[in-house]
């Protein structure tokens, strides 16, 4: 098949499932995910005439999907205004009065460059992510999974860069503790 042509009759069978999984990972809710995938295909079929063939069919569809997911985040945003408590540093408890770790971070015995090859651990992180508050989760996804520019994230959530750093730091800290409790704990006792 020519990579630079659209074949809408095959879209749902070819890309339906991967687009659905991609969406579900970001919006968590089955109904929303189904709706977003459907809206993406509908928008794509209406925009077919604008397809310039600059990218492959799949990337083109994913481009539209990413916009739809962002629209969804935006539509939810008004329900989750920024709390001052989001920028409080709750990780203070991790340190003693002299600023040292109460519990020393462990050596996970993994090379960060190779860690991404560990699919099982990736799934564990995926599970840990669902424990984050919705706002932290969305911000973490946009920044770390989708590589969206910090300035854009700050604009989307109407927060200052310093708030963004604190939120990211807290989200990472929480994920680290979750992985440590549910993965590395078992690994060392095996």
């Amino acid at each position: 098949m020519n990579d630079r042509q659209l074949d809408s009759s095959m879209w749902v069978d070819r890309y339906g499932d991967i687009m659905y999984r991609y969406t579900l990972l970001r919006v968590k809710n089955v109904d929303f995910a189904e709706e977003i995938v459907q809206n993406t295909f509908l928008a794509a079929i209406q925009a077919q005439a604008n397809y310039a063939g600059r990218s492959a069919e799949k990337s083109w569809l994913f481009g539209i999907l990413k916009h739809k997911i962002m629209d969804h985040f935006r539509s939810q945003k008004r329900f989750q205004s920024f709390n001052q408590s989001d920028s409080d540093d709750s990780s203070v408890d991790d340190y003693d009065d002299s600023g040292h770790w109460k519990i020393f971070p462990k050596d996970w015995g993994l090379d960060p460059e190779k860690a991404a090859e560990n699919t099982e651990l990736a799934h564990r992180l995926e599970e840990c992510m669902s424990g984050l508050s919705e706002k932290f989760r969305q911000i973490f996804i946009m920044k770390e999974m989708d590589g969206i520019d910090s300035t854009q994230i700050c604009n989307e959530f109407d927060i200052k860069p310093t708030n963004l750093w604190v939120i990211l730091h807290r989200a990472r800290n929480q994920l680290k503790l979750c992985l440590e409790a549910h993965w590395f704990q078992n690994k060392t006792s095996e």
Binding site: W11, V12, G16, D17, I18, Y20, R21, Y22, L24, L25, E34, V37, Q38, F41, L42, I45, K58, F62, D89, S91, V92, D94, Y95, G99, H100, W101, F104, P105, D107, W108, L110, P112, E113, A115, A116, N118, L121, A122, H123, L125, E126, M129, F140, I141, K143, E144, M145, D146, G147, S150, L164, W165, V166, L168, H169, R172, N173, L175, K176, L179
Partner: protein, 89 residues
């Protein structure tokens, strides 16, 4: 000695800097203090490694082809519904 004192940081000061340094530009002074602390503190080195592991894993999870553990698929009836609505346009 005064300079050394200024450069000295606790682990509590260091960990947010580790995060910040992964996200973008931090000032030369902060970077230097971070580097000095990391050369002498094994715990913070481990912490930095952990955050880097999480960062790299998140990037993998975010890729278009990452297959979720639950292997979710679109329900067949939803697929049919979408196909029909695509045909009707």
């Amino acid at each position: 000695m005064k300079i050394l004192k200024q450069l000295k940081m606790t682990c509590k000061d260091t960990s947010p800097l580790i995060s910040e340094s992964m996200d973008g530009h931090i000032s030369f002074g902060k970077r230097l203090r971070l580097k000095i602390h990391l050369t002498i503190c094994k715990a913070c080195q481990c912490y930095k490694n952990q955050l880097e592991i999480i960062k790299n894993l998140a990037k993998k999870i975010g890729s278009e082809d990452f297959s979720s553990k639950k292997n979710q698929t679109l329900r067949p009836e939803v697929k049919e519904k979408i196909k029909q609505s695509l045909n009707n346009i």
